[in-house]
Symmetry: C2
């Protein structure tokens, strides 16, 4: 057996997220069934982490084990021929047998696309829409208070099963381009809805809806009702997984 690491892009719109569940369409489900169809091997595919329903991936990573006889350099082409058009294998490479796509993650980068332009029905599944132009300078300013190691319990869905809320944010970069504000957040790991709440909090701050002291309090006291809104999943992209 050898271990293969896949780099995968997907359009989250018609998926109930990454993780396989009975009776719904998931990215893991599609990939495992493509591997079975291609190589007649029932295997489990382990991703760097799950993504929620409607969340996209520019470069998710996931590993699985397969018979040594399967030619590594053909896996990408063979799987893409079988997979539906809303999932793409970007690359497939052999990794060490003790490599783990989830446990070996050093950091991840998420991109959130905020759209403040004219109503456009053809974009609605690819962006998070806001109705006022966000203030770039205020967002850049407030983003700095999240950098470093913090307890992010106040920036996490109450439905999470996580017990440990401490994460490190290494970098937040913000780019304005035409009617988009692209916010890229790199961190050691992310809690349930954490990126969407961080972005919502920065936007609410930039619109004067919540104060800096309240956000600081949310970081210290870990209360979800102190932080900002949860942005919709359609604007969120898993951009990079670093090992």
């Amino acid at each position: 057996m050898k271990r293969i690491l896949l780099k995968i892009a997907y359009n989250g719109e018609n998926f109930h997220g990454w993780q396989k569940q009975e009776g719904v369409r998931t990215v893991q489900g599609e990939i495992e069934s493509a591997i079975y169809n291609a190589f007649k091997s029932h295997c489990q595919v382990f991703a760097s982490g799950r993504t929620d329903a409607k969340v996209h991936a520019i470069a998710q990573q996931a590993h699985f084990d397969i018979d040594d006889g399967v030619p590594t350099n053909k896996i990408k082409t063979i799987l893409n021929r079988i997979l539906p058009l809303d999932v793409s294998i970007l690359s497939a490479k052999k990794v060490k047998n003790d490599f783990h796509a989830r446990f070996d993650v050093k950091s991840k980068t998420y991109l959130y696309k905020v759209y403040f332009g004219e109503r456009n029905c053809f974009l609605s599944d690819k962006v998070g829409v806001v109705y006022e132009k966000p203030n770039l300078e205020k967002i850049k300013e407030i983003s700095q208070i999240f950098i470093g190691e913090h307890n992010f319990k106040g920036f996490c869905s109450s439905q999470t099963s996580s017990q440990d809320f401490v994460r490190t944010i290494y970098k937040i970069e913000i780019f304005e381009k035409k009617s988009y504000l692209n916010i890229e957040i790199t961190g050691s790991g992310f809690l349930m809805h954490m990126v969407r709440i961080l972005v919502g909090t920065m936007l609410d701050y930039s619109l004067g809806k919540i104060s800096k002291s309240r956000i600081e309090k949310a970081l210290v006291e870990g209360k979800r009702d102190l932080s900002g809104r949860t942005m919709p999943p359609q604007g969120l992209y898993l951009k990079k997984v670093n090992y």
Copy 2:
């Protein structure tokens, strides 16, 4: 009562087409329910014609009747505030009470977006994908045999309920741009799947899969098995309705 004509754009991806049906999401259903929420008026919205599941509209048109007291110049804004983001009202104007969005159609223009570029999961719900670069000159050449009045029974789904298959095609324009071939067809009206079959036939001809004489025979004999493949709905856009 006054009659209002709406110009509407929608992303067909998550709609079971225009026409209202029990238990599924449709554009007509969303618009009628927005009108009810906004104006407390149960009314029926009549479109220029239905579009199939997953087919988009850049500018569908549809009329409905509403109390004279509703301010015409506010209808667009009010409905857009209620409607989900994948449908947009582009304009709303008062028309004569005997105007009919379907019966008064003079011609319609459909756009089909053929994509022959690299696999891209973020485009898959907006284009019809082909795996070979189509031959622009051959498509331009064969498109000419459809111009004029013909019996299009051979270019229509067998599931149609139409009895009269005669339609006039006024114009077919083809634009190549980067990895797209945009095909625009203007005609008096279109049968079920007709645009998708016309485009599929032109593509099959350009790839040498079917001959010109076979296509001419399909036009004369009206047999569906003589014409080309049906392209997927995702690439089809209702672009313009002319009254």
